[in-house]
C-alpha cells in the first residue's frame, strides 16, 4: 500500500494537471473537464478556509487555557469569533448585525493599523541616517522624497511639475521594471514547478 499510493497520487496529479492545461488550449474539447476539476479544487480550497478557522480557534483555546497575558488576548479573540459567528448566523453574512460589526470594528481597526504604519514609516525614514550613511540608504531616501512630493500638490507650494514628471518616471520605469522582473521570475518558477509536477518529479502532495 505504501508503494501503490504514491504512484497513484502521482498519476492522478499528472492527469489532472494535463487536463486543466489542455483546457486552455482546447476549450471546446477539454473545457468541461477543466471546469469540473477546477470546481473540485475550489471546494477543497473553501474547506481549507474552514480548517484554518478551526485551527485558529483551537490554538487560541489552548493559549487561553494556559493563562497569562496571551491567554487574555486569546480569550478576546475567541469571544469575538463567537459573537461574529452568532451575529452572522442570526442576521446572515450581509445582515444588519454583520454590517454593524464590520463598520464599527473591522474598518476602524484596519485603518488604524495603516495609520500607525504611516507614522512608524515616517519615524524610521527620519532616523535612517542615524546609522552609518551609505549610498543605498541615501538613494532610498531620495526616491521616497521624490515619490511623495510628486504624488500630490504640496500644501503651500502646489503642484511642482518636474517632481510630478520625475515621480511618474520613477514609478513607471524603474519600479515597474523591478516589479515585472520579479513577476517574470515568479512566472518562470511557476512554469518550472508546474512542469515538474506534470512530469511527476516534484510531488508536493506526498509520496
Amino acid at each position: 500500500m505504501k508503494k501503490i499510493l504514491p504512484t497513484s497520487n502521482a498519476i492522478i496529479a499528472v492527469i489532472s494537471g494535463l487536463l486543466v492545461l489542455l483546457g486552455y488550449f482546447f476549450p471546446g474539447v477539454f473545457g468541461n473537464i477543466q471546469s469540473v476539476l477546477i470546481g473540485w479544487a475550489i471546494i477543497l480550497a473553501a474547506f481549507a478556509l474552514l480548517l484554518g478557522i478551526y485551527n485558529l480557534a483551537l490554538v487560541h483555546w489552548k493559549k487561553a487555557g494556559a493563562g497569562g497575558t496571551n491567554g487574555i488576548n486569546s480569550i478576546v479573540l475567541l469571544v469575538s469569533l463567537g459573537i461574529t459567528i452568532i451575529a452572522a448566523s442570526l442576521s446572515g453574512p450581509t445582515g444588519s448585525l454583520s454590517v454593524w460589526i464590520f463598520n464599527n470594528f473591522q474598518v476602524p481597526v484596519e485603518i488604524s493599523l495603516l495609520a500607525v504604519l504611516a507614522v512608524v514609516l515616517v519615524y524610521a525614514a527620519a532616523r535612517l541616517l542615524t546609522r552609518r550613511p551609505k549610498w543605498s540608504t541615501i538613494l532610498f531616501l531620495v526616491t521616497v522624497l521624490i515619490v511623495l512630493l510628486g504624488s500630490v500638490p504640496l500644501f503651500f507650494l502646489g503642484e511642482v511639475a518636474p517632481l510630478v514628471a520625475l515621480r511618474g518616471w520613477v514609478t513607471q520605469v524603474p519600479a515597474v521594471a523591478g516589479g515585472r522582473g520579479l513577476l517574470l521570475g515568479v512566472a518562470l518558477g511557476t512554469v518550472a514547478t508546474g512542469i515538474r509536477i506534470l512530469m511527476g518529479v516534484d510531488r508536493p502532495y506526498g509520496g
Binding site: F102, P153, V176
Partner: protein, 628 residues
Amino acid sequence: MTDIICPLCGKPNPPELEECRYCQAPLNVSGFLAPSDQEGQENPFILSPDEPDQADSQVIKSESTSALEQSIPDWLKNTEANFLEETEAKPERQAPDDISEQIDSLLSQPSTPDNVTQPAIDDDWLASLLAEAGGESSPLSSQGALLGDIEEPVNENIPQPFIEEPFKAKGVLPPTPVEKPDWLTGLEASSKIKLEGEITPSEGIDQGAGITESIESIETGSMEIPDWIGKIEPEEISSNLEEPASQIAPAELPGWLEALRPEDNVPATEPVEDLSAADIVTAGPLAGLRGVIGARPSAIRARKPPTYSIKLRVTDEQRARVEMMEALLADEQKPKPLPSQPALTSRNIFRLVIAAALILPIAWMIITGSQRVPTPQPGDVPGVIDFTQQVQALPTGLPVLLAFDYEAGFSGEMNLAVSTLITQLAIKNAFMTLVTTIPSGPAMAESLINSSVGLDGNQGSYSYYTNLGYIPGGTMGLVGLALSPKSVLPYSLDGIKVWASAPLDAISTINDFSAVIVLTNDPDTARSWIEQVGPTLKIDGTPLLIITSSQAEPLIRPYYEANPSQVQGMVTSLAGGLAYGLSVGNSQQNGEWDAFSISITASVLIILIGSISRAALKIPITGKKKES
C-alpha cells in the same frame, strides 16, 4: 533384565540409559552387559525352566534364521548340533541352572584358585574338531593344562586379558571344582589357546617373560616342540629381548648434520607428573580419574562481590566550588527584570512629535473642510476619462459585475471612487452583481451599497443588486466564475437562486455582463482578474474596469496603457477618485484632499529635517573619532 556396567565407575545401569546415572559416563561406547538377578530369563542362550520347549524352538528358529549362522563353519554347526542332541538326550543330568552358572562363570571372570589344574579335554569329538582346525590342538590343550601348574608372579600394573589366568597360586585351597561338561571344557581350553596365542599389549611389554614361561612349560610338558625352539636358551632369548637397541651400530652422520646437532642434552619429553597424590574425580564423565584439571577453576568461583562506597570523596574546597556552581546555575534560570526606562525618552518624544505633526493637520483639515489644494482634473490622472466613458456607455438596466476585493484598511483611499461609481451605476439603473475574492468583501460591498445615495437622493435606497458573496477558492475560482458563474455561485447570500430570474437568467458566461469592474488594492488580485477573466471578456468586447490604490497603480497601469489594452479604464487612489468625481459632476471632497496633501507635506518635512539633523550631528562625531 540386563544391566549395563559403566566402564568408568563399574556400577550397573538400566539398559535404556545412554549415560551412567552415577558418573554420567557414556554407556553405549564401552559399556558391557552385566548379569542381573533375572538374567536367566533374558539371556537367549539360557533356557527357562518353565518354558523349555519354547526356548528350544526359539533357539532353533534363531539358528535357522540368523544371518550370522550362515557364516559359521560347518564344524561349529556340527558341534552345536551334537550339543543340542546331548542336551535333549540328558535333560536330567544337567539342569539349565547349572549351564547358566557355568556360562556366568565364563563371562564374569570366575575366580579359579591357583594350583588348580584344568581338566584335559576329554571329549573326543571336540579334540578331533580342534585337531582339524588348528592341527596342534592336543599339545596346546595339554599345554594349557600344564600351565596351571606353574607359579608365575603377575605384574599388577599390566592389564590382563578378560580370561582369568589359571596359574595363580597363592597357597589357598581351591573350592570344590565345578563339574563342567565336556564341550565347555573344550571350548575353555580352545579359548585359552587362542588368547594366549594373541599378542596383547601386555604381552608385548612382558614379552620375554611370556616366552620364557612358554618355553619352560613346553619343556616340562610332554608336547612335541620343534627342534629350533628347543635349541634356544631362555637366557639368550631374554637377553636379546631386554637389550635390542644396544647391539645396533650407531649411524655415521655427515659432518654438516653433526654440526646441526644440538649440543645440550635436552630431555625429549617433560618429566611425568606424579599423580598418585592427586585427587580422584568423583562426579561427571571423568569420575574415577586422577589428576584431572578442574573444569571450574577457583578463579571464577562465585563469591560475594566486594562492596564499594558510593559516597563521593571530595574535599571541602571542591564541595564549596560545586555549591557555587549550583548557585550560578540557579540564578541563570531566574528571570531578571529589565532595567526600568523612563517614560519620556528622546526617542519616545520624537515619536510623539511625529505623530502629532501628522495627526493634527489632518484632523484640522477634515474638521474645517478645507479646499485650499486644487483638485486634480480628470485629464491629469491616467485612465479616469476612459473609465468615465465606459461607465457612461453602459446600457441601462443590464447587469454589471462588481468585484469588491479591497481590504477595509484601504477604504479611506478607495471609498470616494467606489461611492461615485455606485451612484453612477444607480443612475444607469444597472443590476449590480456583487462578488468578492476576500472573506470580508461581502460585508464591505453591503456597507458601501447601503451608504451610497440612490436615485431619490437617500442613502441605502438602491436595492437593484444582488450579493453573491465570496467566490469559493478566492482568485483560484476566477476561471470557474468566468466560464460558468452559475455553477460557482448558484445562490445569493440571501439564499435566492438569482440565476433563474431576470436579469441574470440571460447570463451564461461572464462576458454576458455589460461590464466587469474590479475594486482592489492588491496588484496580484488585479493581475489575476486581468489574466484569468480578461481573455473571456475579450471575446465579446466586455470592458474590464479597475479601481485601485496607489500601491497597485504602477503594476496595473501597463495593462491599461498596452495596445490593445487589457484594462479599458482605471481609477487610481484618492486623486483618481476626485478626478472621477469631477468628471461626473461631483466636486465635493469634504477636506480629504487637503488633509492628504498636508499629511504628505508634513511627512516630507519630517524626513528631511530628521535626516539633515542626524547627518549634521553625525559629522562632528565622526571627525572626533578620526582625530582620536
